[in-house]
Symmetry: C2
Subunit: 178 residues, 2 copies
Amino acid sequence: MSRAKSDTKARAQAVARELFLRQGVRRTSLQDIADRLGITKPALYYHFSSREELVRSIVQPLIEDGDAFIAEAEARADDDPRVLLEGYFDFQFAHREVVALMIRELVALADLGLVAKVLDWRTRLAVLLVGEDPPLADATRATVALGGLSDCVMVFADQPVEAVRAAAVAAALDALGR
Amino acid sequence: MSRAKSDTKARAQAVARELFLRQGVRRTSLQDIADRLGITKPALYYHFSSREELVRSIVQPLIEDGDAFIAEAEARADDDPRVLLEGYFDFQFAHREVVALMIRELVALADLGLVAKVLDWRTRLAVLLVGEDPPLADATRATVALGGLSDCVMVFADQPVEAVRAAAVAAALDALGR
DNA sequence: GTCTATATGCTGATAGAC
DNA sequence: GTCTATCAGCATATAGAC
């Protein structure tokens, strides 16, 4: 009875996830998804009451798991940072497709070669920091240092520049293990 | 003669930057920009041959400065990581508005509360890592650790999970100064 | 569950007057 | 430099038959 339920719904979500990831959420129309499924747009509306509901259905699991992870971590606020970081990593890894979807949403600017540029810069900066073809350990150090530095510029935009710069660079250097 | 040139063009770019930042590039139409300027759409086409050219004109300075920065850094490949990191920070800070524009492009998903969620999680994780209202030095350490960890999940998606996790967590812990 | 047909609105873009 | 008028295209969404 409950077997072989609405197969189309699941297929639609899978196709949507793929298209969202490849070409961005906003520039993926219901038409694109319907075409890929070999059905028509109105058929999609049988499974999802709106476009937004379709998007939400894909993102929902990440949100729920995230809330659960944080709640658990806060409940046992005693454990060491390592456990916390590992858990956060695992959580993100489990949802890496949707996380990637978030990041690739920058695809809107990728047309301008911006994202490619920034990734290229980071790659070359990483070479300067840890050399060509570094062992994974050093490569991740460079990524943490550069990625973390970027985040600080945005996160602490309201703080005094010099103080942020000094603190951020210090943390990045620690991440590099220098 | 060259004074008081095309004021409208500069105003259009300023308005566009603001709207792009507030509501994302894709969902900002020429109509929105024209309305804000108190002119009509066709008037915009006098200053920009296409929508894409308008977007590009805003992003171009970042790209040019970035290329220049990398070229210089590579030319003097001798200096220590600290100088490099500081330079990279300064470069990003000078263009923080456009950098923010890139990041806020995630606004497409912000409607779903996703970005707010992730920022909220990070804030709360930072509390667990470095406590409530930490000094700026610790706050940045947490940001580098969490931001860098996130980046690693994506950047090394093709590498063995366990190895990436170990390396990324190690670098994050160093960034934390623990 | 899926279809055809259609409503309605907004998009980027152009033609041509002033 | 800015306007009015207009285009074709595509979007989300709905009505109703099968």
